[in-house]
Amino acid sequence: MNLRESTGIALGAIRANKLRSFLTLLGTIIGVASVIAVVSFVQGMNRFVSEKLLDAGSNVFEIDKFGFITNNDDYINALRRPDLTIDDAEALRLGVRHAAIVVASNGNSERIHYRARHLDGVKVKGESAGYEVINDYTIEQGRHLTEEDDQHRQLVCVLGPEVTEELFPGRDPIGKEVRIGEQTCQVVGVTKAKGKMLGQSQDRFAVIPVRTFQKFKSERGSITIDIKSLDQAALPVAIQEARNLLRGRRHIGPGKPDNFGITTADTWMEFYRTLTGGIFVVLIGVASIALVVGGIVIMNIMLVSVTERTREIGVRKALGARPHDILVQFLVEATTLSLSGGILGILLGVGLSLLVGAISPLPAGVSVPAILLGILMSSLVGIFFGSYPAFRASKLDPIEALRYE
């Protein structure tokens, strides 16, 4: 008896009990669907994050007071470090020879007023010239902030599109004066919308010159310095130059650690991978439990099926089926069953990730390895949990089986 015959019999049996088969398969469907959804989702996220993080910030590194800190003790220690200042930024701008752009920035969150209207929780960023490259801002209307704006501590700002939509519905914001905290600034430009990233708006901000920010904002504190190297190859050189320069300015002796932090996009990517790796493991674990439960249900239904079809087994044996033929038949049937569940689960999982991708900003792609994994897992579930019922069927005594009512 070949595989095609067995599969035909199996599909017939599934068709004959559609509802029962479907209910039996729910566990497998859910298990496989979650695996597909999780894998597709995490892969989509990875792609998305690496695009956003690495492309926008390619060959960019960031210097700040803290660096990449993931625990409280490090944070407490880092608080005692000296602040980074505009002077540091200026020194870096002059001293890092492999730097294309050096941008000093600072930020907080404030309320912005225009006449009677106001908007809360706007990210106010003090930035020096070149910020548009680091932040990937394109101007929609008006102009970007310039070196002169910064040097003269001008009270000017560039607004994100979400801010102008709220404050200037249907009106031209250029030349208008808005109040950012205590200061009144003239709007000189509006950027193009960037949309959302991981559910966060990227368009709800106001940029003012960093020197203006440092002059007026009470909680000015330490600034952040972003440096874009000349090209990818120059990145490590630029980092080394910046590091040596800052250590020199701060008189840090050889062998002593840095009292400032340098972060690259790779640092973030690494952290992100660790994070999603954890999520991945947990969700795969949950999905595996669903698959095991699904497998047990399949085993149960196969045992029922073997009992119900005892007579059929007897007839087949009388007509010349060897124990091995019966074993294969029921094994194929269990596998066909679980594989159908797997395929439904794949459809559901793919549908789910496409739906999530369509209605939310979270990215989700269809992952071919995930689909293959789903097929493999559901087949294995069928073979594993189908073995015992199939073995029982193959060992039935033909006389007893023929007599079974």
Binding site: M1, A13, A318, P398
Partner: protein, 235 residues
Amino acid sequence: MLIRIHDLHRVYEVGSEQVHALNGVDLGVGANEYVAIMGPSGSGKTTLMNLIGCLDTASSGSYRLDDVEIGRMSDDDLARIRNQKIGFVFQTFNLLARADALHNVELPLVYAGIKHEERRKRAREALELVGLADRMKHRPNELSGGQRQRVAIARALVNRPSIILADEPTGNLDSTTGEEIMVAFEHIWRQGNTVIVVTHELDVAAHANRVVRMRDGKIESDTPNPQRRAAGAPA
């Protein structure tokens, strides 16, 4: 001799007791015989049929089918013998409910490992032989009792077995339909097949050319039936 049975015993353990279902049976059946095995229930006729049909193996004694000793064969070998040498016809037909007539008849050929086209062809021929050429695509529940049993006979014949083994083939049929089935057996016997019918109905046994009576696990009498009544002929 097609079948040579010598001093065959079959002992069942029922609880702590031993039941001698067959207690020293000797029987020989030649090719193209038409034998009826009769006896009251508990006489051992079903046990004998199971042994002849290679569904069961004896506790002791010898059973040679086509000069091959069946005695201590493995399950796989028994399955092969059943597939190639035995054609079963059951009282309750035992057709697969979900399969059509053609597919039911094909089944022994599936286990014989015969290719699809060849299977189709031979199953068709067997169904034509029992007069069901126009019912090939019908499922058992779309067929009458007599038609179902004729499908079963076609299934028994399809792999050209040495013996057609029928267990109360008319037991679930009314007398008219039963007669129709006996006509079918008459026909296949006349074509050179060996037919063994297990029955307790005299009417059925009357068609055989030899009647074996059993009692208490032994053969009580084994007589030719010179007055055999050809099925389909007037009584």
